[in-house]
Symmetry: C2
Subunit: 216 residues, 2 copies
DNA sequence: GTCTATAGTCAGATAGAC
DNA sequence: GTCTATCTGACTATAGAC
């Protein structure tokens, strides 16, 4: 792996562990056993490191989330979608721990973020409409956007919500499953009578995956 | 107003406007036209200012949220509860913009926060049970806690969610009403057939209050 | 209680040798 | 590409006069 890539990977790990604000460029360099000067050879400054991480984040999201194929099972597609989404939240949750602060310091990143979130909203709306077309949920047109926002907010802020409620900040895989359960809770309210039992089975599955802890 | 109180009020205002990280003790002092030395006469450091603000926040929450009286209209009580909650979120939203960071820097505050959130969760659960007792909602016992978490998360992170999606960070009263609508969306899914029309009326009311903008 | 002046600290970033 | 050495700037906090 190139030094540049190592800087990115180390930064992601340290940011997630200790928070973006607590980790300085010196910390990143010393964790990699390189000099601060070397780090600055590869990146103009800390903002540029974060921009690069954000690029990975949005790239991952765009490659993972293909639109549903009409002939596929809508519910099964949803499960894959959720898993990828929360995998992403797991890898980049530091970003949402400090979202306001990170965006306030970098106008360029903020613009990219807003653009990206707009397109993400449309994707989520498309998923909801596909679920409706597949008879998985029933939802009025004028509630689609509102539910999409709720889903997006839940996925974004679930990890900060969990982390804030425990003393040692470390996140576990189980916490992510709890978040998936919250998404399913949101969807459950819109399920058709045919899909309700399937969604309940899904919830049971994730409850088992999450059950190593008694949190939440 | 005492200098000490003015420091608190000015801090809240500046934190909400520009973010807690961006505002230094020097900013606070110079905005009040007092010296940094004077500020440090009244507060040991910035952490202590934030602790004091958190004390106001939790005090407000505890005084505003009386338990329901059994003979009162449960739905009407809920509306008052929501208004107070979002008033609080309006006044202290800077806290949730940077929650992870603020708590990571102050162990004492973090412990207080966790304790407070625990008791808040119980309050929300009590409200849900009261709504069920008042035939406003139907909900299974094992979903009460999960829904309470969703409500709490929504109220906490609605403002950061909104702020992150616009370039000028200023929040408007309408944004708060959009948040109330999200809470009502969550509850609507659990409404009884008797209460559904009332909740829909409530949603219409808040939609009008929020309609000066086309956001969300 | 309030001021001025300043010490201490540290993150962010650069210059120039190798 | 990488290092050492160093600088700048900003923020926190204190000392001592008024």
């Amino acid at each position: 792996m190139s030094t540049k890539d190592k800087i990115i990977q180390t930064s992601i790990r340290l940011f997630n562990q200790h928070g973006e604000r607590a980790i300085t460029t010196n910390h990143i360099a010393s964790h990699m056993c390189i000099s601060p000067g070397n780090l600055y050879y590869h990146f103009k400054n800390k903002e540029h490191i974060i921009r690069q991480i954000f690029a990975l984040y949005s790239e991952h999201l765009h490659t993972q989330f293909k639109p549903f194929q009409p002939n596929e099972d809508a519910l099964q597609n949803l499960v894959g979608y959720l898993d990828s989404l929360f995998e992403l939240m797991w890898r980049f949750h530091f970003f949402y721990d400090n979202l306001g602060d990170i965006l306030a310091r970098d106008e360029v990143l903020k613009k990219d973020y807003i653009t990206f979130q707009s397109s993400l909203l449309e994707q989520v709306e498309a998923v909801l409409l596909a679920l409706r077309a597949g008879n998985v949920i029933t939802i009025a047109d004028d509630e689609v956007t509102e539910l999409a926002h709720m889903l997006k907010m839940t996925v974004s802020f679930w990890t900060p919500y969990v982390k804030a409620r425990r003393l040692s900040g470390e996140l576990a895989q189980q916490d992510i499953y709890q978040g998936i359960l919250k998404v399913l809770l949101l969807l459950k309210a819109y399920c058709t009578s045919q899909s309700l039992s399937q969604v309940n089975e899904l919830r049971t599955k994730y409850q088992q995956l999450a059950s190593d802890r008694d949190t939440v």
